[in-house]
């Protein structure tokens, strides 16, 4: 067994494989399928101040090697979440990171404050959701705006603050630098690409929300590039994600500069994806004489 452990901005994980926000429910849904306690960390679905019904269906559409979704942050709201859902997530015994989605800076702060002392290991600030009208990507494309949101959250919490960035920008490095300067403890790269599918029979968009976020293996090269660019520009650790389906995919992100990785859409292709990826990472280390997986972080450019 190689040492797969990682300490990500103070969040201690036994291995670098996390769940990607919005794709893994509270973990309970997969409880009977595999041992959730094997995961490096769990990330909650996007949480808003008030409960949110989400977008109207259809919310999903398959694309070549990918998936377009426009869930629109359906969730019970942060209070209900903390009361009803968080306890069962914490029961898995692995760090839980809350993905929070305010529609204004002040909402972000309010949600962040609610998480003090709840047992979550960190906050992931979602300023990159393409599927909501307010907040989301709107707060995450202009570096100054993003930095303001991040700065306020950092001030209002003792928890490590991870900032999740959108790839739908001209210059992701500039954005990453701005939020790092504002005090972010880590970055999550990438959220989905803005996309659209049209139903040529009905001559209307496939999704109820018209546009949605593209995820899955289709976007992996874009995600690896983003991690590679950003890792060379900032000093804070990066969680890489976007189409990771195998240990080799995870390694691409690690070699590009990610300290941890998240598995999202891959669960839909193979519910055992995360367990398999952890095993494949260990096998790779074994075959290549790697003692500590963290030694490989950024090896492509270091």
């Amino acid at each position: 067994m190689a040492d797969l452990a990682v300490n990500l901005a103070g969040i201690k994980m036994e291995n670098p494989v996390m769940s990607a926000s919005g794709t893994f429910g509270s973990g309970v849904e997969y409880d009977s399928v595999f041992d959730i306690g094997m995961m490096g960390a769990l990330v909650t679905t996007g949480l808003t101040l008030e409960s949110k019904v989400g977008n109207r269906p259809p919310r999903l559409c398959e694309t070549p090697a990918g998936l377009l979704n426009a869930v629109g942050l359906q969730n019970p709201g942060v209070d209900v979440f903390i009361k009803d859902v968080l306890p069962e997530m914490l029961d898995f015994g692995v760090p839980v990171i809350a993905n929070i989605a305010g529609s204004t800076k002040d909402e972000f702060v309010e949600i962040a404050e609610k998480f003090s002392g709840t047992g979550v290991a960190g906050l992931e600030i979602n300023i990159s959701c393409p599927n909501v009208k307010t907040g989301g990507m709107a707060l995450g494309t202009a570096p100054e705006v993003a930095a303001q949101v991040v700065g306020s959250v950092v001030e209002s919490t003792d928890l490590p603050v991870i900032v999740k960035l959108t790839p739908n920008v001209t210059n992701i490095v500039e954005l990453a630098r701005a939020v790092a300067a504002a005090g972010a403890d880590a970055l999550s790269l990438i959220n989905t690409l803005l996309g659209m599918v049209i139903d040529v029979e009905q001559r209307k968009p496939m999704l109820g929300n018209v546009v949605g976020g593209l995820s899955g293996p289709a976007i992996r090269p874009v995600a690896v590039r983003a991690v590679w660019q950003v890792a060379q520009a900032v000093k804070i650790p990066i969680i890489g994600m976007g189409g990771i389906c195998t240990g080799r995919d995870a390694l691409e992100f690690i070699l590009a500069g990610a300290s941890a990785v998240a598995v999202g859409s891959a669960f839909f292709n193979d519910p055992l994806a995360a367990v398999r990826i952890i095993k494949e990472l260990d096998e790779y280390c074994g075959e290549h004489g790697v003692d500590r997986l963290q030694d490989l972080v950024g090896a492509v450019w270091k």
Binding site: V33, G54, A65, A218, F268, N269
Partner: protein, 261 residues
């Protein structure tokens, strides 16, 4: 809770049921023991990542004794096409059992099953379960033409079967909803059970309300996770919120949901 599991299953049989329809039987002993009518499984239907998502299919028939589970399906696109090319001995991965099925323990003794097209798939397993529980069943089957009326002889083992086809090549010429209206005029039922295109489900929902007969509807939505984790497969509930078809469904009481499309 006895949750779903991931299984790699050997194909024991693949039977073509005329153009575009197939029956695939898998060795899945655990699933056979735990599944109930109206539940489904997510089947992996390809090798690379295109198609990327698994396909939801209702449990069609179960042989607990031999540990066999079968699915009845229509080839629409590449997923089902891939599945139809599996042969006995090949392996197929699936996640199941999933979702909330038909409620076979509700009181009643006279049931009407309404299945349109490949929507009859979950109704066979349901029929066998209901008959075991002492129900008397009447079965309506509808389709575009005779070739779309799937396994009528097998259904006849569980109750009286009436058929409607759009082109009149089997049974009466017309819609299954006409057949349903007729039937509801003639006799009374304790419960309706239906699966099929949304137009048919809407018809059933309407008549259920009109006649005050409870109905259970099996819904169809695009799915990604199949377990309730992604919030992708919702339908609208009567109170305006959204319910996950894969978790709160796929079978709903007719009054629970607002059908659209």
């Amino acid at each position: 809770m006895n949750g779903p599991g991931e299984f790699i299953c050997r194909v024991s049989r693949q039977v073509s049921l005329g153009t575009n329809y197939y029956l695939i039987e898998l060795e899945a002993p655990v699933l056979a023991q735990t599944v109930s009518p109206g539940q489904f499984a997510m089947l992996c239907c390809g090798e690379g990542f295109d198609p990327f998502l698994r396909r939801p299919l209702s449990i069609h028939q179960v042989n607990k004794h031999l540990g066999l589970v079968s699915f009845l399906y229509k080839v629409r696109g590449k997923g089902m096409s891939w599945l139809s090319r599996r042969q006995s001995g090949d392996q197929v991965s699936l996640l199941g059992p999933l979702g909330r099925g038909f409620n076979c323990s509700k009181p009643g003794s006279k049931g009407l099953l309404v299945g349109a097209g490949v929507g009859v798939a979950p109704l066979l397993f349901l029929a066998s379960e209901l008959v075991d529980r002492g129900w008397e069943l009447f079965i309506l089957m509808g389709g575009r033409s005779e070739s779309g009326i799937l396994r009528p002889d097998t259904f006849m083992e569980y109750g009286e079967v009436k058929i409607a086809t759009e082109d009149g090549t089997s049974g009466i010429q017309g819609s299954i909803l006409e057949l349903l209206a007729d039937e509801l005029e003639k006799s009374s039922f304790d419960r309706l059970f239906s699966c099929g295109p949304v137009a048919v489900l809407k018809g059933v929902q309407g008549m259920s309300k009109e006649k005050g007969i409870p109905a259970e509807l099996s819904l169809d939505e695009w799915m990604a996770c199949g377990v309730g984790a992604c919030m992708g497969c919702v339908c609208q509930s009567a109170d305006g919120s959204y319910l996950r078809v894969c978790r709160e469904g796929p079978v709903f009481e007719a009054g629970e949901v607002v059908l659209s499309g």
